[in-house]
């Protein structure tokens, strides 16, 4: 019974769906690389999913390619290049630094620096504002006396 339950859990887990029946079995290390790679590659049909998450035909084909290439002994870089040669850097969720992507990589830091500079200037300016003259206790008392 427990074995059946376990089998059911495995069979119906999304992880299994995201795997394709493959010809060659991978070693544990290769399997780990396969998992990492398919989670790094974008599916072009449903663009906000990785090929691991997508059920599109193209994602299945690409997973199969990744699997076969790992089994054939290709390195992760070779496999990434295989995909980017065909579909461009867009398929990489972590695009390489290039003239086109430099804004993407540097932009947030530029914004952060700008915000910091603004904050420093803002705080400085507040500190140099003329501070209200401290109240003169004698004058206060005189004013109060006048009221009475």
């Amino acid at each position: 019974m427990i074995a059946m339950l376990a089998a059911a859990v495995v069979l119906f887990s999304p992880l299994v769906w995201s795997m394709t029946p493959h010809a060659e079995a991978l070693t544990a290390a290769q399997e780990a690389r396969y998992r990492t790679l398919i989670h790094e590659l974008r599916c072009l049909v449903c663009q906000n999913q990785t090929i691991a998450d997508s059920n599109a035909d193209l994602a299945t084909d690409l997973r199969e390619q990744v699997h076969q290439r790992i089994a054939a002994g290709q390195s992760d870089d070779q496999i990434r290049r295989y995909v980017t040669d065909r579909y461009g850097d867009f398929v990489l969720y972590k695009p390489p630094m290039s003239a086109r992507t430099v804004l993407l990589w540097v932009g947030p830091f530029v914004l952060l620096l700008g915000a910091l500079l603004f904050a420093v200037r803002f705080v400085r300016r507040r500190q140099t504002l003329p501070v209200a003259a401290t109240a003169d206790p004698d004058r206060l008392r005189r004013l109060l006396d006048e009221e009475r």
Binding site: L44, V45, D61, D85, R86, Y87, G88, F90
Partner: protein, 171 residues
């Protein structure tokens, strides 16, 4: 005066957002532009004994059109392909992930604009061309170099603005 900088920043942001809205995020620029057509050897649709290779695509500009009988967008562009074929534009069809039987019937019903049709049944050639959804059309110059890629149905506008000038220059 003190509002000039924030307003300028806001306007700049609005312009960027407006530009972003006008772009179609589903169009992925192909890294194959300017590269020779990928290698393939595919069986012909009419006679699977014969094969098509990129060598057969050089010598004159050619449109390579990935289509399928199950593809709705292909019917949208079909009348335009028929017209272009009638005007003497050479179109080669690659039948993507399709049953040859179904493809033949589809071409009989809608007309055949292709000079050559080859089958890419498992879609592996499509993978090498960077196809991610049929129909897709590639423009090859006389050297067999890919000079333009149209994702989705070929349109009158794409033909007039992009493809025709390219063919005019390369032929």
């Amino acid at each position: 005066m003190r509002y000039v900088v924030p307003v300028a920043l806001l306007l700049g942001l609005l312009v960027l957002l407006a530009l972003g809205l006008r772009q179609d995020p589903s169009l992925v620029p192909s890294p194959l532009i300017g590269k020779p057509a990928p290698e393939f050897t595919l069986p012909m649709l009419e006679d699977a004994e014969q094969t098509l290779t990129p060598a057969a695509l050089t010598g004159r500009p050619v449109l390579v059109n990935f289509f399928a009988s199950w593809c709705a967008g292909c019917q949208v562009e079909h009348p335009l392909l028929m017209r272009l074929a009638g005007e003497g534009v050479e179109i080669v069809g690659l039948d993507y992930k399709d049953e040859p039987q179904a493809a033949r019937r589809w071409l009989q019903r809608h007309g055949n604009p292709y000079r050559i049709v080859a089958q890419d049944r498992d879609g592996l050639a499509g993978l090498d061309w960077g196809v991610y959804g049929v129909p897709e059309t590639y423009v090859l110059d006389a050297d067999g170099t890919i000079v333009y890629k149209q994702v989705g149905p070929l349109t009158e506008r794409a033909w007039e603005q992009h493809i025709r000038p390219l063919l005019g220059r390369t032929s």
